[in-house]
Symmetry: C2
Subunit: 502 residues, 2 copies
């Protein structure tokens, strides 16, 4: 398309994917957060394209990230469980599984096109040796395999290691401090690492793929001292402001080095804001519920594409999109084709971003675990199953203050006989079900079902990777622990079936 | 302040107040509407100042408008009822009352400073002869005294008249068509009237005050043919798009005439989006409930100040503000002082808009009828009374899909002993009550109560204007009906106590 015909640059465009953790659609000023505390992201949107209808492939961290990096739904790449019906699963440090060798991870492909790839931040595709990012295409690594939860006692459970490339260089709450007050310099480190990598690549002239995934917006939230207390929104807002600052620093560096016209940058989040922390959490704006759920609040993401000179400034894109499209987009940018030996669930965004060619037939599939919960096509969304809360006794509220009859059902509820249909244009908050048997209901449902039937017909689920757990394989003795004298001793291996209560 | 010292223009700045009807905070793209269909308003915000924490003085049309034009709360200017406790009231065409002669309406003051004033659109401060806008300071009038509801049969109830200056020139649904499909050219007429008035004033060189109040976003929504079906959001969205287009036309005309640096423009709405129409209504974004209620969704308004050369482009203003501040602001712009013979509830916005001097001590008082329901100061809001629905049997949902225990109470509930407190920074949606007896609760409540006690101490309620109704005084025979041969005959006068079920 037009993009290539005008590309006279000999080196291929760089790709930067900025993936936030649990940040909600409504956390950005440009997407209506009343605090309006994201000036850098707002500017990024005004210089690039704001994608209003862009989705995570799953409402939870690991499966969403696995899908981004493989271009395939969790049900295909194995980031799901069959231990229970329609349960999301992820990769805590006692998970046995991770990204299968059979999956093609994005940097593996990009390496073939001459890219050097770095991941900075949270990996979350498995922490055992065979799942290490450097074994799946990344050339450089600064970050951790799991969430920064803790501190742990290093007896029952070890603190999460932080890696530089192949080896660990410390642990969270130890060498990499996170204070109880929420103070931590981690976001600054992730920013500095990104800047240094970009500068180094600019000097060598080698095209690069940077996967920047800081996790300060995932509970427990943190921010560095100069950001603490600066937000209207307490610590969560401070964290968002620092991440926003980081985005500004990175885009500013690209401009300073004058490589902004040769760098595709995409900003998004891995799932909707987690709402179970009361008032101290992110915002999903006008959308229903949050993380864990297949309502819009669980999977619609704040998303901005930025590529000066290629993407028209201030563009608003309503085409449906998914993090999985970024895989195909990066492959497209690298001038490659998607491998033909497997099914891909995304497609390149360049036609709509660069050439304004909107595809109105795209479908979004909302899964929890092994179940297709909902699907969206055009403005219509059908819920086949609804679920809003795992274990009421844990007081985990995924839809606080929200209640839609027959929709925010605490228990998993089957609507297959008569799917619940919403028109997301006039009703983005999923509050007003279309009346059954109306012409609009029938037409909307048929439009969706055409795609769903085709999808199910060709669906061959992958081997589930998230069924088995084992406390013996936690991050006791990661590579490099000997040098640091930080090897710990865990219990003997004792695999058990993981349970995913929520 | 600095503003005056730099003003070397001999003619005083023009003032344009654009007041929408029932448009919600979340209807603007720049405030996070997913459809992002307000490019002109979004540009207005990027060229001017977006006020994120700006309020209507009341969650209903008439009292809100009376307060804007008098600078005083409804409880002072008489736009309330004592027929029932804590009930909002307005001005249907069988209302006896209206704006009292004792109130000083904004154009009356501005006329003294040499301004020519015009109202275009909905007046809503009384339809009887003595309440006509030309008797309260306006020099010109194109619009109607009431909402455009109908059509009526002209027997039990007459259609609402449309005036040009002193005389009626037709009626809604007759000469001024509103089709059942929602098609109507009214917004285009209101735009053309505004453009013509601005051009005329520019030619004469006489400073002007334009009060532009189109009502297409009030049910029944309407849009002209070229806008019908163009929105993601059905007819309501079409109406908003046309209003947005009108804003663009007016600002464009100011630029074309090169008077933009000498014209203060403010855009806002008279109350929150009315949510009782199911999916076919406006959006209050992340806020709780809507029109009629004293939750944020009922009274927080989409608000933009625009004054090229004076207000820094792209400014975000978090200072609390109210439509009543626009009275004081206009008086300030005209170089006058507020009359000293009465209490004013607003203050000039120029210090914060032009000189960046933020007042952190302002208080917002949320009334329904004769009752102070809530108050906000800083980030804290206290609810003294809660109420979310008038008559359940009417199926009027003011908080559809929302439910907060002890807060969205269907019945009027007294919390005076222990007010419900929210922190609107971390919890703009009013979902998480502060725990009683915590240090934060005590401190926040005290900060609010200081202002509330002072407010109540000096409060002398005005004579309630909205207690009596009479079907004999409806718009049967407005001035000018003889010329048009459109006088109707109503029943004899028979005053009765109005009832305000919702
Ligand atoms: Ca996450
Ligand atoms: Ca109104």
């Amino acid at each position: 398309h037009a993009f290539y015909s005008t590309n006279s640059n000999p080196s291929k465009p760089n790709v930067i994917l900025m993936l936030m953790d649990d940040m909600g659609w409504g956390d950005l000023g440009v997407l209506g957060n009343p605090a309006k505390e994201t000036p850098n992201l707002d500017r990024m949107a005004s210089e690039g394209a704001l994608m209003t209808d862009f989705y995570a492939p799953n409402p939870l961290c690991s499966p969403s990230r696995a899908s981004l990096l493989t271009g395939r739904l969790p049900i295909r790449n194995g980031f799901y469980t069959t231990n229970d019906h329609a349960r999301c699963s992820y990769t805590p440090q006692y998970i046995v599984g991770g990204i299968p060798d059979s999956e093609i991870v994005l940097p593996e492909l990009l390496n073939k096109a001459g890219y050097r790839s770095k991941i900075i931040g949270k990996w979350h595709l498995g922490h055992q040796t065979q799942y290490h990012p450097l074994k799946h295409g990344f050339d450089e690594y600064f970050g951790a395999p799991n969430c920064h939860v803790g501190p742990y006692d290093n007896k029952k459970q070890p603190n999460i290691p932080v890696y530089r490339d192949a080896d660990m260089i410390g642990r969270y709450y130890e060498e990499f401090k996170i204070d109880k007050s929420g103070e931590s310099n981690l976001t600054q480190m992730f920013i500095e690492e990104a800047i240094a990598f970009i500068e180094k690549q600019h000097q060598t002239g080698e095209q690069f793929f940077l996967y920047w995934t800081p996790d300060a917006s995932h509970s427990p939230h943190y921010a560095s001292k100069s950001f603490l207390g600066t937000s209207q929104r307490e610590l969560y807002g401070d964290a968002v402001m620092e991440l926003d600052y980081g985005v500004g620093q990175i885009l500013g560096k690209l401009k300073e080095l004058q490589i902004e016209n040769n760098t595709f940058v995409f900003f998004s989040s891995d799932n909707g804001a987690a709402l179970s922390g009361g008032a101290y959490v992110g915002s999903n704006g006008p959308f229903l519920c949050g993380k864990h759920t297949t309502f819009e609040g669980g999977m619609r993401e704040p998303s901005i594409a930025w590529w000066p000179g290629r993407i028209k400034p201030g563009k608003i894109v309503h085409e449906l999109g998914s993090l999985m499209d970024l895989f195909a987009t990066a492959v497209d940018i690298a001038g490659m084709k998607l491998p033909a030996d497997r099914v891909y669930d995304g497609s390149s965004l360049l036609p709509v971003l660069v050439d304004d060619k909107m595809n109105k037939n795209k479908t979004i599939f909302y899964y929890r675990g092994n179940e297709l919960m909902a699907a969206r096509r055009g403005m219509y969304k059908a819920h086949f199953w609804t679920w809003s809360e795992g274990i009421p006794t844990l007081h985990l509220e995924y839809c606080p203050g929200m209640q839609v009859e027959d929709v925010t059902t605490r228990n998993l509820t089957n609507h297959m006989a008569q799917p619940v249909l919403f028109h997301l244009g006039r009703d983005p908050g999923e509050k007003f079900k279309l009346k059954l048997n109306t012409a609009e209901y029938k037409k909307g449902l048929q439009f969706i079902m055409e795609a769903v039937i085709e999808h199910k017909k060709t669906m061959i689920p992958g081997q589930p990777q998230l069924n088995m757990c084992d406390k013996g394989i936690m991050n006791w003795a990661p590579s490099g622990c000997e040098t640091l004298n930080k090897c710990l001793h865990g219990p003997p291996s004792n695999p058990f079936k993981c349970s995913w209560p929520v």
